[in-house]
Symmetry: C2
Subunit: 340 residues, 2 copies
């Protein structure tokens, strides 16, 4: 479908703040996001949200922008929805900022905008304010998206680094490395029996169910995106001044993802995830919490993969599948650039 | 000042989510933004802000990133502070998302971060959550910044397009086109007797003073950034279904800015501003409101520049300095790319 007044590609004029900007917004953005708040077309939106609120921001620069299992549009929604959820809050409102590169096919932009809308609907969040900028060809890369999310804190939530304690169980909600390997397989042109698909998904419903049931017995929530589970656990061990023990035999990784990692010489512990969280919970509720997570569509393969210990403070130690133990160091530099 | 473990330029590894990211954040970002909310180093922040709240987002892609009167750092703070203020709210919290280009000198990043901090302090807002991504050289342009702001709605505020009425006075808070011409002069290497400096400034204190005193007699607030006063007025005239009359003789433009516009063939009505707002107010309070704005440092040159009329609906008509009248059309395409 073509709009009579829109050219086929994004032009600098679409970022001018004048008629071309307005046409682009009216015919693509407002077309898909019309809602009473956004329709006011002011510089911002006024929300009647009861406090306390959680806020989180993320910029998405993933390349390629379309990949098996998703695209930069749903990633930008799910990524921020999950960051808000990890604070123990129900995501409610999102801002949406596009930085478009001159020459981007309008159809690609439309597809991303549709995908943003679909993901926002699926997660039950509303886009309430936005911004669109255009940069010259060669000064950007097709589309960058920033989303900032606001959510209502769950009344039972008490999430924080300082709440992680010796003995806490570490629950992982799903298999590792699917997002990173979907991107890498696409970039490298790797083909497998069945396509590796990104795990991008909103996780707040599981999180809220956990908090409904277990309240402050859930101590810390994190989604291991860039840097993977290894980096998140290392950071937490360092910041909390405790040790973390991981049992490799318990960590779920799909066999194809595992094979792709081997081919490319990557360790799934360091690869980005976009639909997985880890929860540090009181050991007494670990089994029940696991069952609850496994009951959800995005948590079927959840597992208890480790625990917090007073030994090896600041470090993550893993017992490997062949029985030895090793220290898991955080990622040093770049493993997979532009993964999210 | 060099940090022993940091290289001299931004590298892809700084966006990895691993140790290099942590070092960059610890030694530059947290160094300047340490506060109890940010220090939790979670994926987001929890705020105890009473509703209703205003929210606004903006991405900044200005080129060059350093210019007379400011840089992309203070622009990113003031721009969003002002958008929140235009909703009739006191800006309180900001998120901060960087997209850095590989190869950016670390000193440039440090300078921008310092500038962000200084502007945030000056505006009385707190950076509560952030994100830093790195893209390959040639896939970005030094630094892009997204800020999303949250503020507390002023109890007396009732701002909206639907409140603009026939007879409303249009108050402009300062001289036009300084920001755009500062950028252009720098790009074009134009030299004037004294440098043209961007007008970037936070405007919320004046706005809040107006609302304290006049409450809902202030009908609409807008800052004419991209597209300038002409585009903002055209948009409002179209959306509100009313006409706007402008008196060119009353519109303040500094003489050097005016000269620069002439040299470059630009109309100051279309050039971006970053420290000016326009207010549509009840005619009965116009003179008092003007005096109040002129009392503020950033409002000394404020003027009453027009009014709302039931004639020429949807259009902006201007009486020029030589006495004729003409229709002011909105900006069509791009006048000054990458201005903010």
């Amino acid at each position: 479908m073509k709009d009579p007044t829109l050219p086929e590609t994004i032009q600098l004029g679409h970022g001018s703040g004048g008629i071309m900007t307005r046409e682009l917004l009216d015919q693509i953005v407002f077309e898909y996001f019309g809602n009473p708040l956004l329709d006011r077309k002011h510089d911002g939106a006024v929300l009647d949200i009861p406090g306390p609120v959680a806020i989180s921001t993320d910029s998405f620069v993933v390349s390629p922008i379309f990949f098996p299992g998703g695209d930069i549009g749903d990633l930008a929604i799910n990524g921020t929805v999950n960051d808000v959820a990890m604070c123990g809050a129900r995501p409610r409102y999102l801002s949406l900022g596009f930085i478009l590169e001159e020459g981007l096919p309008l159809e690609a932009f439309r597809r991303v905008v549709q995908s943003v809308r679909k993901a926002a609907d699926a997660a039950g969040v509303q886009i309430v304010t936005g911004d669109t900028k255009v940069v010259e060809k060669g000064k950007g890369d097709q589309i960058f998206i920033n989303t900032t999310g606001i959510g209502t804190l769950h009344p039972g939530a008490n999430i924080g680094l300082e709440r992680v304690k010796e003995g806490d169980s570490l629950l992982l909600s799903g298999p590792l490395a699917a997002h990173g390997m979907a991107i890498m397989s696409k970039r490298e042109g790797l083909e497998f029996e069945s396509e590796i698909r990104s795990d991008t998904a909103p996780l707040h419903e599981i999180i809220l169910a956990l908090l409904d049931r277990f309240g402050d017995k859930v101590h810390l929530l994190r989604d291991p995106t860039r840097g993977g589970l290894a980096s998140v656990c290392s950071e937490i061990a360092g910041d909390a001044g405790l040790g973390i023990f991981l049992d490799e035999t318990q960590i779920p990784v799909d066999s194809q993802v595992s094979a792709a990692c081997e081919i490319l010489g990557l360790d799934p512990l360091y690869v980005a995830n976009e639909g997985v969280f880890c929860a540090f919970v009181e050991p007494g509720i670990a089994a029940e919490a696991l069952a609850l997570v496994q009951d959800h569509k995005n948590g079927r393969q959840a597992a208890l993969v480790g625990n917090v210990t007073a030994e090896h403070v600041g470090k993550v130690v893993m017992r490997s599948t062949i029985g030895g133990t090793r220290i898991v160091t955080p990622l040093l530099g770049e493993q997979l650039p532009r993964i999210c």
